[in-house]
Subunit: 197 residues, 2 copies
DNA sequence: GTGAAGGCCTAAAGGCTATAGGCTGGGCGG
DNA sequence: CCGCCCAGCCTATAGCCTTTAGGCCTTCAC
């Protein structure tokens, strides 16, 4: 009686909430089952194994992130778009720390090939359109953007900024400033920049 | 008989090797004990708990990394120093993936306050001396450097670059180019850069 | 109404961390 | 030289985790 009306997506959604509340590595099949008022093995009807559950959370997170970023970038260009792009990431990491963390691991193919993954890249490229970065350099610029934003958030998360003075806040805005300046003056062909010293 | 001559540092060293060989999360007390030919509980004489063991690996890794970076930066200035700094990090991550991974988590106080931690920051500041970045901006620049380098390596590790075309290699050198250009033309006070659009 | 299927259950195996308590050999004081 | 003590390993055990196997009840289609 009182079947708990489980479905794959209900299980994944609950896992995502748990991740936000208790940290990504508190996500275990046991814990999710407990929250859903069900015995652990029952989850195996809906989810292949733990790995698949975590991948499910990542897919969910990526979709949510893409939506937020899209919203932040829409109708903006240049620096405003860049700021929207970067800050939407940071806001997502702040609001949904567990889901964010789910993205910091090698993901399964389903996640990698997802629509959301494609969209995130497309949005980064859209931001670049407001800057004089040549098409051929777009990949590199997208990767740089991703590296810096993700890297900043990772360092912030593990407390890397907790032991030196100015607040991460200040460095964040300087970081966006720097990325803006960088994209405005994207260094020309490698050869041109060689040996400035 | 045949006491295994365990010591705290021998245990930590073995854990670090295991991390490199089998991935950081293959580091368990069980696995380390197995490798050392000893029963799991025996390790508790040398290591407080799993957490302490992982922190030990991180401390070891940080010291090794600092040494490598110091070596790569010594006697260099400007772009050469920057390139040495960045590439030493990448080389370490490549050569010792497990140890590198041990640094991507919130570390205990012992690690944070270690000599090696201080040195890493000092080396970054040393790199900045070759660039016209004002003292007051050093913290931000150090954080930006750390964010971008760590972020790039993290994305590379989780395969974030595996599904688009040019090799990470190419983007890496463009990234160093970009950081060089950025530091050469570090954006002035925030106010000056406002609303260029 | 009945049979198949879906969805939850219990049971159980095997791996992990961690604590408690026992055995032993080597060094050291008497 | 003898015996004691302790360092350093051990076994036993508890508790939590994942995963598989197999059973039972409910529902729905025919």
């Amino acid at each position: 009686m009182n079947r708990a009306a489980l479905t794959a997506s209900a299980v994944v959604a609950d896992a995502a909430s748990l991740a936000d509340e208790a940290g990504f590595d508190a996500v275990t099949l046991s814990a999710v089952a407990r929250r859903l008022g069900v015995r652990t093995p029952s989850l195996y009807s809906h989810v292949r194994d733990l790995e698949a559950l975590l991948d499910g959370v990542a897919a969910l997170a990526l979709a949510e992130l893409a939506a937020r970023v899209a919203d932040a970038v829409a109708g903006r260009a240049g620096r405003a778009a860049l700021e929207g792009y970067a800050t939407a990431h940071r806001a997502y990491a702040r609001d949904s720390p567990g889901r964010w963390q789910s993205l910091q691991r090698r993901a399964g193919d389903a996640v990698v090939r997802s629509e959301a993954a494609r969209e995130t890249v497309a949005l980064a490229r859209a931001v670049l359109r407001g800057y004089p970065v040549p098409q051929t350099e777009h990949v590199h610029a997208v990767r740089l953007l991703g590296s810096t934003i993700n890297g900043f958030l990772a360092l912030e998360r593990i407390g890397g900024f907790d032991h030196s003075e100015p607040s991460p806040e200040a460095s964040w805005s300087r970081t966006v400033d720097a990325l803006d300046a960088l994209l405005l003056a994207w260094p020309a062909a490698p050869r041109d920049r060689k040996a400035p010293l």
